[in-house]
């Protein structure tokens, strides 16, 4: 119990991501042996991982006084969290065979990769939302929509696999457990509607701020976000008009999600340097003597990271401008 209380946010997040990995490994073991795995066991492992990850993100949220979206690591972890939330809703509701297997695999891959790249969590912007709850909501919704697009990419991949198996008459192994094409096509459409609606809502909320204070908006971020929104909206429109369907739709959804995912680190690194290392990262850099007599939260502040001009950025200004992360 004491050990649990002493765990920092990253340790909780590590625990969560490892459980996703374990769930994937167990499911993979059964799939490779062409055996049906226990959906309940998989769900329990994923749910346990979700609890650990949520605890880690909550601790980060307490530290940043808001939604933890201050650097690529946090953004990716929040996407993983959203992915799992959506799986936990649609998984049991629609009994989609193998969705847990694919979701846990993607969650573990993104989650562990973000943990293994220290640069993505080296600094974190402070006063991220400037106390503006609407900007925080905008950011959280935008990332949540990425979660929906992530699950959409997975169901699209499952559609392509099922389509391949039926076209090439290979129905054994992993193909045997895939849901029907009809179910996957229906789920793709629903997830496309969900993700696009949430992203649209997020952009509408963000637009309120951009119109008032356009100077504070990161142009690169705005361009990429708008491009992603436009792309998904176009796909949805084409799907409604039955012009983009089946395999073409699935490939498009997978490529779009990869683009959205890969755009996060470069876009995020191109943003304002009002950043500080997260608490856990700062503690790691402290010498042991700093920790002997003082509580971690009372540790002396470290110099801020260098800004783009090579100078010390220093502590964030008292009234830093809100910078939506997406």
């Amino acid at each position: 119990m004491t050990l649990l209380l002493q765990m920092d946010d990253r340790s909780w997040i590590w625990g969560g991501n490892l459980l996703y990995g374990l769930a994937f490994a167990i499911a993979l073991f059964f799939v490779l042996r062409s055996r049906r795995h226990s959906r309940l066991l998989l769900f329990i492992l994923i749910a346990a991982g979700f609890v650990l990850q949520t605890t880690g993100l909550y601790l980060r949220g307490l530290e940043s006084q808001g939604c933890p979206l201050g650097n690529p690591f946090e953004i990716l972890q929040f996407i993983v969290w959203s992915l799992i939330v959506i799986y936990m809703v649609i998984g049991p509701a629609f009994h989609m065979s193998l969705l847990g297997f694919f979701t846990s695999g993607l969650a573990a891959t993104i989650g562990v990769a973000s943990l293994l790249v220290p640069e993505w969590d080296a600094v974190r912007r402070e006063e991220l939302f400037g106390g503006n709850v609407w900007i925080e909501l905008h950011a959280a919704l935008a990332i949540f929509s990425y979660g929906a697009f992530g699950v959409l990419a997975l169901t699209s991949l499952m559609y392509l696999l099922q389509n391949y198996s039926l076209k090439h008459k290979k129905l054994e192994g992993v193909f045997h457990f895939l849901p029907s094409l009809y179910q996957l096509e229906t789920m793709n459409f629903r997830l496309l509607i969900l993700g696009t609606t949430v992203l649209t809502g997020s952009l509408l909320i963000g637009a309120q701020h951009w119109f008032r204070d356009f100077q504070s908006v990161n142009q690169g971020k705005l361009f990429v976000t708008t491009a992603i929104w436009a792309a998904y909206s176009s796909v949805l429109l084409l799907r409604i008009r039955e012009m983009l369907i089946s395999r073409a739709l699935s490939w498009t959804c997978i490529i779009l999600f990869l683009f959205a995912l890969l755009s996060i680190p470069p876009v995020d690194s191109n943003r304002k340097p009002e950043a500080r290392p997260p608490e856990s990262a700062r503690l790691e850099r402290l010498s042991p003597s700093h920790l002997t007599d003082e509580s971690p939260r009372a540790a002396p502040p470290l110099p801020g990271p260098k800004d783009s001009d090579g100078g010390a950025a220093g502590p964030p200004p008292a009234e830093s401008r809100p910078t939506p992360p997406i």
Partner: protein, 349 residues
Amino acid sequence: MLGASHRTAPIEVREKLAIGPDQTADVYQGLKKIDGLNEFVVLNTCNRIEIYTVAEHPEVRRRLETYLCDFHSCDSETLRKFSTWRENEDAVRHLFEVSSGIDSLVVGEAEILGQVKDSYARARENASLGPILNRVFQKSFQAAKWTRTHTGIGRGQVSVGSVAVDLAQKIFGDLARCRILVLGAGEIAERTLVNLKSRGAHSITVANRTFERAGDLARKMEGCALPFEQIHRALVEYDIVIGSTAATEPLFSRAEAGQVIHNRPLRPLLLIDLAVPRDFDSAITEIDNVFLYNIDDLSELADANRASRETEIARCREVLQAKARHLWKHLRLPDPSRTEDPGSVQGTG
């Protein structure tokens, strides 16, 4: 356990030994009168008649045989020749294998478990179940479930008709919402339709060059008949088209199927070609969202499933043997609440 099955007796003998639904109550009443028979369950399917009993002594076998011979008016020599007698752990293991579908004519078929459950329920209604058979049957249900979940014994279908239905479910999921058109009214078309109906399909249309024959099959399948000359115009309305005509040239070209999918892009089209020569142009398979399977494809899938099931049998047998041994060991343990020995589980089959 005393019984006869497709493994021990020809169909003529099994027919003779079969117990009709209206005779079941009489059999239970008759068996109750046999001295030394503490518990019993009668398992009666189209391929087997087996009586599982808990008896106080081996003499019960002779009494059971006499009763069955009297009931069916058959000679004891025939019964002895075509039946088997299993005792104790062997009888438990046999029941596990029967419930799991390993002993079935079509290995791995799932219907047998439902039939064993029905027999168990009937024995319960007739108050012929006791603590031992109750436990043995419950354990056999668990063993069957384990087998189905952890082995590939029930995976994939092994007849052409049922493979076609499997494919339909992989594309459409619930068959209740599918519209099915059958071209030809032959035996193979009928068998495939029976399979489709058994899995929930109900919107069935039959087209045949002889309209009367189409009408006959449609009536049998509770569907409707379509004049053969209208099939090209009607194709766009259907999700599954089964071809089983005697046409010498393909009835549908690639261009025609392409036009159909163009007019209804969201709905996939499954074409099952059971005809030789083929009813559908093989180039149709190149069209996106159209899935074409001919008789060779279906046979290949059925063969692969059959081979896969065969390889699983040895593994299943091994596990079921261990489970039966474990259960038998527990049944033989002295129960402090009982003053008598539990007796022995026996059966004839």
